[in-house]
């Protein structure tokens, strides 16, 4: 499962960041690392981007960026 597929309010655990491009590096810099928990707080009015809670702060990701993040249900 990837991070773009979870539902609002759901908390999941990151298992892997796919890719070695600028986006995946950025995601890791922002603290999205395997083992870390992340929660979907809400969506923008047009359904994209998404707002997450991770490491105690709020992060906005686009659907295609969330797609790079492999997650598992806690």
């Amino acid at each position: 499962m990837t991070l773009n597929q979870i539902t609002k309010g759901q908390t999941v655990r990151i298992t892997q960041i796919n890719g070695e491009d600028a986006i995946s590096i950025r995601l890791m810099e922002m603290g999205l690392i395997d083992g870390e928990q992340i929660q979907l707080l809400g969506k923008a009015p047009l359904g994209d981007p998404l707002e997450f809670a991770v490491r105690g702060y709020r992060l906005s990701l686009r659907l295609n960026e969330a797609k790079c993040v492999e997650v598992e249900i806690v």
Binding site: I23, G31, L41, P45, P49, E51, A53, G56, R58, S60
Partner: protein, 760 residues
């Protein structure tokens, strides 16, 4: 008591760095006392903010570096911070110490950047800002234990309240000059072996010893800026060697780039253990509750559009009267100068060159100040990130991101503050794209041009009326069309820029949504003041120069003596007429003879005045025609003829380079309207009557449309071009803007005229 003589000590340079939204600029403002020298770093679009202070007889330069989450540069702009910290940026000496500012409520993520800074060899002071917010969330930090663990000074501050600043100052004063710091070095040995191998190879290229930190970045940042920099500055085959090194690292279980984030976050987690106590369960913060409304499907949009409407309404309500005030102020100064200096070249230079030039700069200030005030409030409160969040999906269909929305929307009032607002966009290419399309938005300076030509040539046909008041009219449709054409053209322009010129740079939208907070009045005022000042000082001088050049081109080489004679005559007649009026008022009823005499004189003078005005108009228009400006108008006539224009319109277009609305007064002069060229009804009459030498009318609907389309798309605004120069720190981008917009405007005007002529 005798004070010991101050020991002359070396000037200290302190770099300030931190994540975005950590209150870094507030802290910088407090430390520097609000005074900062603002300029640009050479070669990049990054603003250089240096605050010079003297504390306890020590001179200290505080260098504010742009907020960043990481020292892994992706563009030349992000490279700036790395270059400053390595002493490679020539305009700043190698810092003696670094102040790293971290958000106390979110230390883990902030410590990613912090751990990278610890890999440098410069002593660091760690500042935990917003300690109050952290406490209110139940986060407890033992800063002394942290300081002991890290073996460096840690200061807790609440910059918004001004707390902790004195402690920070004394920590800075304790720092020695030129002290060294042992790099943190978190990576396994195999990484440093590869680093040293690579470093040796770079030594051969006479790289004057690439610093360890830079070689680390070369190895770590796959596809980063350091990689492409070295690719262009070293021997061929470096990339192969680099890839081999990375493959070996992967085989050793240290795959880059994943290793860096894992190790740094691991280090941060371990370090913070026992030092920071988090509440057991994740709380729903007030910010989250506000966000549920602000990003709500219906309410979020509604609030956003109401807010934007309010901003615009305020710009028009407040800027309009202020701009009128500036204009009447200008007229008053004109009047005073005219009463002091007799008609002549000096008066012409002062009134039409200098005062007009200064007025042309000041007229922008109300819009800049008001728009920038709102932008600063939105940014400081945390709403700016939400605006980008809400608008991102829509803006992406235009090839931009949500961060471009506010700058582009501001440009509908005025492109100058719009372009200044692009500073919120960190991605260089996205920022440049936004800067390049912003001047296409229909700003308020285009309205006078539209209204003049629409009133003169577009028939007022109503298509839909309610209770006898027209709702949809042809004039309205044309005005709407002219106001939207720029925005419509901006879509393909942005697409082409992205597709062909700014390729390969994916802009991740990965963006922090900071906590909402009350904007600090001090911050907001300082930012508005700095923007306004930088506009007047930097862009203003250039706009002023342009105005003087255009004045000179319209003044020389003609012989103005006749014009000045007529002008003197008009003014002395004016004075006599005034005297007569006074006398008339004081003449007693019975004194019929004097009354008649005075009235006769009045009639005579009035009719002479009318003749003189007409003569003056003829002379003025002739002088313009024979001036350099007029010559260039004639010279470009073959170029503008396919647009349906005669040379006079050509002159108007050239003269309006400083600002679009100047075309109206130029057309007024050149069509011998003279006197009050702003008097629209007179101007409408005379342009309607204008003919080609063969007697055909110059203006018809296609010509009017062609002029309007030209002005909708052209870059006839010195202020915009100068602000682009200032914001991009290069003359290349204003030249690009001017060239592409003029080409677009020409093609647009050409098509409108040629197609329009089929229907005439």
């Amino acid at each position: 008591m005798i004070k010991p003589p101050a020991v002359p000590q070396k000037k200290m340079t302190i770099a300030i760095i931190g994540n975005p939204n950590t209150g870094k600029s507030t802290l910088f403002n407090l430390l520097s006392g609000g005074y900062a020298h603002i300029g640009n770093f050479p070669g990049v679009t990054v603003e250089k903010k240096v605050g010079s202070v003297i504390w306890e007889d020590r001179q200290i330069d505080l260098v504010d570096l742009p907020g960043t989450y990481s020292l892994a540069p992706r563009s030349i702009d992000e490279m700036l911070a790395v270059d400053v910290l390595l002493g490679r940026q020539k305009s700043v000496p190698l810092p003696d110490a670094i102040i790293c500012i971290a958000d106390a409520s979110n230390l883990e993520r902030n410590f990613y950047l912090f751990s990278q800074i610890l890999d440098l060899s410069i002593p660091v002071i760690l500042v935990l800002n917003m300690c109050d917010l952290a406490r209110s969330r139940g986060i407890e930090i033992d800063s002394q234990a942290l300081s002991k663990k890290l073996n460096l000074p840690v200061v807790c501050t609440e910059a918004h309240q001004g707390k902790g600043i004195d402690e920070l100052k004394s920590a800075i004063l304790k720092m020695g000059v030129g002290a060294e710091h042992q790099p943190l070095a978190l990576f396994p040995d195999v990484f440093y072996q590869e680093r040293n191998l690579l470093k040796e190879k770079l030594q051969d290229d006479a790289q004057q010893g690439a610093p360890n930190f830079l070689v680390d970045r070369l190895l770590l940042d796959v596809g980063g800026y350091v990689e492409s920099y070295f690719e262009h500055h070293t021997h061929d085959g470096l990339i192969d060697e680099l890839n081999q090194a990375r493959t070996r690292l992967k085989a050793a279980g240290c795959a880059v780039p994943a290793m860096e984030a894992r190790l740094r976050y691991g280090w941060a987690g371990e370090l913070l253990q026992g030092v920071v106590h988090q509440p057991a369960d994740e709380q729903v913060t007030i910010s989250d509750k506000i966000d549920q409304w602000m990003t709500h499907r219906v309410f979020g949009f509604l609030f956003f559009f109401l807010l934007m409407f309010f901003v615009f309404q305020s710009v028009f309500t407040w800027a309009g009267p202020t701009m009128d005030l500036i204009e009447s102020g200008q007229e008053f100064v004109d009047g005073s100068v005219e009463s002091l200096i007799p008609p002549g070249p000096l008066r012409s230079l002062v009134v039409d060159g200098v005062i007009a030039g200064v007025g042309g700069v000041l007229i922008f200030l109300p819009q800049i100040v008001i728009l920038y005030f709102f932008i600063a409030v939105l940014e400081d409160s945390g709403y700016m990130a939400r605006a980008a969040f809400i608008m991102d999906r829509l803006m992406r269909s235009l090839g931009l991101s949500g961060k471009s929305f506010i700058p582009l929307m501001s440009s509908f009032a005025c492109a100058v503050p719009g372009i200044m607002a692009t500073r919120v966009i960190e991605n260089r290419h996205e920022r440049l794209t936004t800067i390049l399309v912003a001047p296409l938005m229909s700003c308020s300076a285009r309205w006078p041009v539209y209204t003049l030509f629409i009133a003169a040539f577009i028939p007022n046909i109503a298509y839909l009326s309610i209770a006898n008041s027209p709702i949809v009219t042809l004039q309205g449709i044309v005005l709407f069309g002219m106001s939207s054409i720029g925005a419509l053209v901006a879509i393909p322009v942005a697409w082409i820029l992205k597709r062909f010129f700014f390729q390969g740079d994916v802009a991740p939208f990965v963006m922090e949504l900071p906590d909402y907070k009350w904007p600090s009045p001090r911050n907001v005022i300082l930012r508005v003041y700095r923007r306004a000042k930088s506009f007047v000082v930097k862009a203003g001088t250039l706009i002023f120069t342009t105005s003087i050049i255009i004045w000179a081109a319209g003044y020389f080489p003609g012989d103005h003596s006749e014009q000045f004679q007529i002008q003197s005559r008009i003014e002395s007649n004016e004075a006599s007429l005034g005297q007569i009026e006074d006398q008339l008022a004081s003449v007693t009823e019975g004194d019929q003879e004097s009354l008649k005499e005075l009235q006769n004189q009045q009639t005579l003078l009035t009719s002479e005045q009318a003749d003189l005005y007409e003569k003056q108009n003829q002379v003025s228009s002739q002088l313009v025609e024979t001036s350099f400006l007029g010559m260039s108008g004639h010279w470009i006539e073959p170029v503008v003829k396919p647009l349906g224009w005669d040379w006079k319109i050509g002159v108007g277009v050239i003269a309006s380079f400083p600002a679009r609305e100047v075309i109206i007064s130029t057309l007024g002069t050149i069509y011998s309207l003279g006197g009050d060229a702003e008097d629209e009804s007179g101007l409408i009459g005379s342009i309607r009557a204008a003919t080609w030498p063969d007697g055909r009318k110059v203006f018809n609907i296609p010509v009017a449309i062609s002029i309007m389309v030209f002005f909708a798309l052209c870059a006839q605004c010195a202020a915009t071009l100068m602000v682009i120069q200032r914001e991009t720190n290069s003359w290349f981008w204003p030249v690009v803007s001017f060239t592409y917009m003029t080409a677009l405007a020409y093609v647009g005007a050409f098509i409108s005229y040629q197609v329009g002529m089929f229907f005439v």
